[in-house]
């Protein structure tokens, strides 16, 4: 498969170094430096540059260039670079599919034929966990390049995927799949030679594909034939990567099944534990570590069998490892499956197994007490009966969305318990390995204990079926575990002498419990309790306690709607946190101040507080708290119209939350939702719709599809769809909002009135007046029952009623509805409000339909005098003008009629309503006669 390139890649630009102004520096050794410096200039890869230029031209609206070709493939984009060469995304026009092309540099066409044949053997491998190789070719033009065309796998390599902190089971499963791929290749007689996480790709759906089989060997042969010096300390002499490379290969041996096995087990170990078992600093360090055993035992929650399977595969002596990959994979699979059976394979060579077991148990058997029971306090909290009880509690609830949320909550708690348990073990191990006790680990233990107590209280509330609805979201907001493990954890309490420490602990515990009941919505008398705790903290001189109590007081005031009072509390909390030198609490208080200011409509004030908060952010700040601050700030920015700044911050918030809390977390969903709001405010409707949609699925997955929070999302989606001109889609979205609201608030709740009014609007817009009437009448009934007949919220409802009546030919009823709306508007805001647009226009139309020119004119004039008349809804303005023109004519005001009609024509053309333009123009022409 030896092919020519199509077009030559671009030329190199400019000479390297010419002596430009050496007199500038006055340094006598400059010329030497220059020479040395010049040597360091990066190689100009003309291919890379050419592909980049192509891509840029396409994306930046510049004149397109001819695509760079390699063989029959058109290179589109560079998607990565590995140790051997770059990878490009390319298009195969012959089969019309995307392929990935890996380039290997430095190839000369005088390479042995046997190598090419071997390379082609790779192309015959076929297994779902091996990347398919379509072909291998040589590009003869200079510099000659070997390229491999293979299946394009969109996704991450395992190296990067592992950074996203997947669960150990997901990691294990991924490696089992990769192992299967390896086993299959071995069965076909192909060895990998350089297995490591970077050589395993993972698609979004979890499918695993191993890449780069045998290429390491080919490349190494290349290097040997080129007599290139090696690049960097990482490469072994026969291909492979230091750290993963089997010891026998380091000593000059060849690739074998056993050496692949070694690399596989090292990689799996690294995936499960985060560290290479034997390091990779240098060959000598590696060899020494190999003799000592893995640097760090696998985390305790991973079954011991797994560790033993891997340990055998990593044995220094190749003949002691597993007989083949297939067996290894089988053993690994069953070990992961936690089947506690005694495997015959584990029994054989028991001496070896015991020897390796020494490594697995820890660095030094004498020194480490058993930490395997360190998580018992956590596990006891979440034993199977309790888990069942919690689940039943949810399933027995009357509200549908609570029942639906049962599995979500249980799995969220499962994950939380895992994190707590792992933390417990880690603290124990830190203590035993380092022999370190003292304030740091003690503080961590106390911290974890308080988390466990909090979890216990949370679970007890659920068991008593208290505040179930609020606990769905609260399950995601249990106090995070990670902060307990920070080595610099130093609570203010340690500054107190012992006798006060106890009382401070009590105050803290009470504050904690109070905060939890606030979050659960079960806190009558909470404000009083908070005041008591404030007094207690003041007496103790415990500033952080004062700060927390004041924060809570602010929260309680906010809930009761006493916003200015809340501001005072939050401000005091902020100052208390400052004097207590507690940056975290200060950040919390500031965030509350920002939200509070927004609620008061003082957006500039909100930004002021955000600036204060930002000044307190340091490298130790909890990123989640920082994200909350930025989130609150963005809301103010949106209201101020600074949507770009808001989006900037919100994207950071989204990234932080996705990373630290997961994509299916209510906070992450909220961030996504707010991005939609910002985009909507900026007028970017399509983007807003996409964001709302993304937030909807996140909300659904984290809270359940009928959770009250979903109602907001459906509302906004409907808004956007309506403005994008899809009233039917909007109606369906609003229907879903209504369904949720009915489920959570009850069918007669006043808040449904607004949703129903929107539904009426959508139905009218979609030319379905019967349905619109049904909605409108229900809305009216609810609103009048809740607020009486003069409430401004009724204006929209009555207007839609009116429109529906008119559409059905019931002019009297329509007129009555519009006039009722006008009455309310006059009473509520003196008639000057854009909400009057609808009713006035409707009343004018109704009057016209009834032949009452005077009434038509009266209403029309009022309409025209409304501020924002023509800018608000140009189509409606045009309609109103048209009606008015005809009324003027009927009233004998011919010249005014003509002028008004001409204005109507202008407005109609502006909105592109050509039919109406024609109608009015014809009418005008008839007048001239």
């Amino acid at each position: 498969m030896s092919l020519h390139t199509g077009t030559k890649p671009g030329v190199c630009y400019g000479p390297l170094v010419t002596g430009a102004g050496s007199g500038q520096t006055g340094d006598s050794r400059d010329s030497e430096f220059r020479a040395a410096f010049g040597a360091g200039a990066p190689t100009r890869s003309s291919l890379r540059l050419a592909v980049l230029e192509g891509r840029l031209s396409e994306r930046l609206g510049a004149e397109p260039t001819v695509p760079v070709r390699l063989g029959r493939f058109e290179l589109r984009d560079r998607i990565g670079a590995g140790g051997m060469g770059a990878v490009y995304l390319a298009h195969d026009p012959a089969l019309d599919r995307g392929v990935a092309i890996k380039l290997l540099h430095g190839w000369t066409s005088s390479a042995p034929q046997a190598l090419i044949a071997e390379a082609q053997a790779l192309a015959r491998l076929s297994h779902e966990n091996i990347v398919e190789v379509y072909g291998i070719g040589v590009d003869d033009d200079e510099p000659a390049t070997l390229f491999v065309a293979m299946e394009y796998v969109p996704g991450l390599d395992l190296e990067r995927w592992l950074q996203t902190a997947p669960t150990w089971r997901e990691v294990a499963r991924a490696f089992v799949d990769a192992g299967r791929g390896l086993a299959s290749a071995h069965a076909s007689g192909v060895l990998h030679g350089d297995f490591k996480p970077a050589n395993v790709l993972r698609r979004e759906n979890g499918r695993i594909k191993v890449i780069d089989f045998g290429l390491a060997k080919i490349v190494e042969q290349l290097r040997v034939s080129q007599s290139d010096t090696h690049s960097g300390p990482r490469d072994g002499p026969t291909g492979g990567t230091l750290g993963y490379c089997a010891p026998e290969k380091l000593e000059g041996g060849r690739d074998t099944h056993a050496s692949d096995q070694f690399s596989f087990c090292v990689a799996a170990y690294r995936g499960l534990c985060g560290r290479l078992p034997f390091g990779a600093a240098s060959r000598s360090a590696f060899a020494a570590a190999l003799a000592r055993g893995p640097s760090h035992p696998l985390p305790r929650h991973i079954p011991r069998d797994v560790a033993q399977v891997l340990a055998r595969g990593m044995h220094r002596d190749p003949s002691a490892r597993w007989p083949d990959m297939a067996t290894l994979v089988r053993e690994l699979e069953s070990a992961v499956g936690r089947r506690p059976r005694w495997s015959p394979w584990l029994g054989v060579g028991i001496g070896l197994v015991l020897a390796t077991a020494v490594w697995v148990a820890g660095t030094d058997p004498q020194q480490s007490p058993d930490c395997s029971a360190a998580d018992s306090s956590t596990r006891d909290l979440w034993h199977p009966e309790r888990r069942r009880a919690v689940q039943s509690s949810f399933e027995a609830a009357p509200q549908r969305f609570v029942v639906e949320a049962a599995p979500i909550v249980v799995s969220t708690i499962d994950a939380y318990v895992e994190r707590l348990a792992a933390a417990r073990i880690e603290i124990c191990e830190t203590r035993s390995v380092t022999g370190r006790t003292g304030t740091a680990t003690e503080a961590s233990s106390v911290c974890l204990e308080s988390r466990e107590d909090g979890l216990d209280r949370f679970l007890s509330r659920i068991e008593r079926a208290e505040g179930l609805a609020a606990s769905i979201a609260a399950s995601h907001a249990l106090e995070r575990v990670a902060p307990c493990l920070r080595p610099d954890l130093d609570t203010a309490r340690t500054r107190f002498a012992d006798e006060r420490r106890h009382r401070v602990d009590q105050v803290d515990a009470s504050l904690q419990a109070l905060g939890e009941s606030y979050a659960a919505g079960t806190s009558e008398g909470g404000a009083k309790r908070a005041k008591q705790l404030l007094v207690a903290s003041t007496e103790l001189g415990y500033e952080p306690g004062r700060a927390r109590a004041l924060n809570l007081l602010g929260a309680f005031s906010s809930v009761d709607g006493r916003i200015p009072e809340a501001h005072g509390f939050f401000e005091s909390a902020y100052f208390a946190a400052q004097s207590g030198r507690d940056d975290e609490l200060a950040l919390k208080a500031v965030r509350n101040l920002v939200s509070n200011a927004s609620r008061r409509g003082d957006y500039l004030g909100a930004l002021y507080w955000a600036r204060q908060g930002r000044a307190r952010i340091g490298s130790e700040s909890d990123p989640i708290e920082v994200a909350k601050l930025e989130y609150a700030e963005s809301i103010a920015l949106i209201s101020l119209g600074r949507t770009d700044d808001a989006l900037d911050r919100l994207r950071r918030v989204l990234e932080t939350r996705s990373w630290l809390l997961g994509t299916d977390h209510p906070q992450t969903a909220d961030a996504q939702f707010e991005i939609g709001n910002a985009q909507l405010a900026a007028g970017d409707l399509e983007a807003a719709l996409a964001s709302y949609d993304a937030s909807r699925s996140k909300h659904e997955r984290s809270l359940g599809a009928h959770h009250p929070s979903l109602a907001f999302v459906h509302h906004n989606v409907g808004n956007v769809q309506f403005h994008l001109g899809s009233p039917d889609a909007a109606r369906k979205s609003w229907e879903r909002a209504l369904e949720i609201e009915e489920g959570t608030l009850g069918a007669d709740d006043a808040r449904l009135g607004g949703t129903l009014a929107n539904l009426a609007t959508a139905a009218n817009e979609a030319d379905d007046p019967e349905r619109a009437l049904v909605y409108a009448e229900r809305s009216q009934a609810i609103l009048e029952a809740a607020y009486g007949s003069q409430h401004p919220d009724l204006i929209q409802t009555l207007t839609e009623s009116g429109k529906a009546h008119l559409a059905l030919g019931r002019t009297q009823a329509g007129k009555a509805a519009f006039e009722a709306a006008i009455e309310i508007g006059r009473g509520a805001f003196d008639g000057q409000h854009e909400a009057m647009l609808g009713p006035l226009a409707g009343a004018a139309r109704a009057a016209w339909m009834m032949g009452d020119a005077d009434a038509t004119l009266r209403h029309s004039r009022q309409l025209l005098e409304l501020e924002g008349f023509s800018s608000g809804d140009p189509g409606a303005a045009a309609d109103a003008l048209w009606v008015m023109a005809r009324a003027q004519l009927a009233a004998g005001q011919t010249r005014e009629a003509q002028r008004t009609a001409k204005r109507a024509v202008t407005s109609y053309s502006a909105v592109g309503d050509d039919d109406s333009v024609t109608a009015v123009t014809t009418w005008l022409e008839a007048l001239d006669d």
Binding site: R29, L52, T65, A81
Partner: protein, 192 residues
């Protein structure tokens, strides 16, 4: 690099929608930008090149007395580079380009296959000096920029540029010595 005065004219045309003008600018300057970014951000270089061009076309500024188009472009590129690192700094550490080197920011070096040891060492040394000094040295030695042009690209007075170059050279020598550059290398390990 042959200086072309009409590059600013091309830019204006591109901003107004002239696609062929854009194509020519891309062909002329992609290489420069790629070289600039590649030694500092590895894989993200392609994206940053794109962003630089985008920033160029989106600006509405009347270009104020620029030394050269190259300098103008590089000044934009520098700004994007700093912003790129700021964003990557996950824990809000204060990022100061004068204090931080690429090696601090990118602990795993990008996988350039250096053809020889000398090039590799120089590359390593450059990555370990503060970013602003690295930029100054590269522009001076690899792109042959100097005088007012270099000052414009770095957005500094010429005197400061000379100081930066001096300090950069000194630090590179020190790093090379630390990295164990061979004894017969022209720069040597002796103090300057």
């Amino acid at each position: 690099m042959i200086e072309r005065e009409d590059d600013f004219v091309l830019l204006t045309s591109w901003r107004e929608g002239d696609r062929s003008a854009g194509g020519r600018l891309i062909k002329r300057y992609s290489g420069l930008l790629l070289r600039f970014f590649r030694t500092k951000v590895g894989e993200d270089a392609d994206d940053l090149v794109q962003q630089t061009f985008v920033a160029c076309t989106e600006r509405k500024d009347a270009i104020q007395n620029p030394a050269s188009f190259r300098a103008y472009l590089l000044a934009i590129a520098r700004g994007l580079l700093v912003e790129h690192f700021r964003r990557k700094s996950r824990h809000h550490k204060r990022f100061d380009a004068l204090e931080t080197s690429v090696a601090d920011l990118e602990p795993t070096p990008s996988q350039h296959l250096a053809k020889n040891e000398e090039r590799r060492l120089m590359g390593e040394a450059l990555r370990r000096i503060p970013l602003e000094l690295q930029v100054a040295l590269e522009l001076y030695y690899w792109e042959g920029m100097a005088g007012p042009e270099l000052a414009a690209a770095l957005d500094l007075p010429e005197g400061t540029v000379r100081t930066r170059l001096r300090r950069g050279r000194q630090l590179v020598r020190e790093r090379l010595a630390e990295l164990g550059a061979p004894a017969d290398e022209p720069l040597g390990g002796s103090s300057h």
